[in-house]
């Protein structure tokens, strides 16, 4: 199940790194949230791993947790490694890796914007895509969209099926048949 990259990382951090739980390419390991900056710095600087690029940082909303997924790439050695970090769903907080890879800066801002993960130590943690005064985090599964934004109503009547607007005050737009 385990590949050379995961073995190398696990040998260096036996406490913090576990996995991979599933067979797959690229190898995906679980990292403890506290050791994340240390593990990331090792991934970048180690001559064998040599993962000098963070190609994608995603957040996934599971029923019991929020998981961060870091896709790392080595252009010189042509291999990939995935780091996964589990966070508490009620208060998702992770240390920033913006000083390890510059690309993480905006990725983390996007993750904060849409999933509400706060990255401790981030140089400029503001919303990236949505307006600054937006309420809530839209990519959470339990997100309820607003009924209006700055006086612009969220409702638009369906011309084929007229329904009173108060019926779908929850922001639900009826489907055309």
């Amino acid at each position: 199940m385990s590949g050379p990259l995961a073995d190398r990382l696990r040998a260096q951090f036996p406490e913090a790194v576990t996995g991979p739980e599933q067979k797959g390419v690229p190898e995906a390991v679980q990292v403890a949230v506290g050791a994340l900056p240390e593990v990331c710095r090792f991934c970048r600087d180690d001559s064998e791993l040599d993962l000098q690029a963070l190609s994608c940082l995603s957040g996934v909303d599971y029923p019991d947790r929020i998981e961060l997924v870091y896709h790392l790439i080595s252009y010189r050695r042509k291999h990939e490694l995935v780091l996964k970090v589990r966070l508490d769903r009620d208060r998702p907080q992770a240390p920033t890796v913006a000083e390890v890879w510059k690309a993480a800066n905006w990725h983390e801002r996007e993750c904060f914007d849409l999933l509400g993960v706060t990255f401790a130590g981030h140089p400029d943690l503001r919303r990236l895509l949505l307006p600054d005064d937006w309420v809530g985090y839209p990519l959470r599964k339990d997100y309820a969209p607003p009924t209006e934004y700055h006086g612009m109503s969220h409702h638009r009547a369906d011309p084929l099926r007229p329904v009173a607007p108060e019926v779908h005050a929850g922001g639900e737009v009826p489907r055309a048949r």
Partner: protein, 156 residues
């Protein structure tokens, strides 16, 4: 008096209808069709319509594309910067009603929620012929207006 006003109006309307300067507001894929309409095949220039990059010199705003709530406030600001008389064409499904992205949390459900719209062009995206037709219809409307004999309400 009536004769003079009518002639003056005809002249003013002819001038306005023959020089519709439109504001570039391509915010999504309809913007590509808008550019194509300005290109040599459809050639919007033959109606005297030329693109302007500033709202202060524009008579017409062609809203071409999806408008998010974040953009809607900028849209309203740009519309308010345009000098009267001003016109708005909502181009494509997204500008008409939110279109394909209607169920998104961040997309405005039609630009008529923010600014008054004179003409709606259906389509996703409308062909350049449709936009050229809208310009012709707008010219017809402009030629019938009676600006000199209209008592207008004071601006708020």
């Amino acid at each position: 008096m009536e004769c003079i006003l009518t002639s003056a109006e005809w002249f003013l309307n002819w001038g306005r209808a023959s020089s519709i300067w439109y504001l570039l507001f391509g915010s999504a894929c309809c913007g590509i069709e808008l550019m194509q309409t300005g290109g040599p095949r459809t050639d919007l220039d033959r109606f005297g319509a030329v693109p302007r990059a500033t709202p202060r010199q524009a008579d017409l705003m062609i809203v071409a594309g999806t408008i998010t709530y974040k953009m809607a406030e900028r849209l309203r600001l740009l519309y308010e910067q345009m000098a009267e008389p001003r016109y708005v064409i909502a181009m494509g499904s997204c500008a008409n009603c939110g279109g394909l992205f209607q169920r998104s949390y961040a997309v405005l459900k039609g630009v008529d929620k923010v600014i008054p719209v004179d003409l709606y062009i259906p389509g996703c995206a409308p062909r350049p012929e449709a936009l050229a037709d809208a310009i012709v219809k707008l010219q017809q409307r402009m030629r019938q207006e009676k600006w000199l004999r209209t008592v207008r309400a004071p601006q708020p």
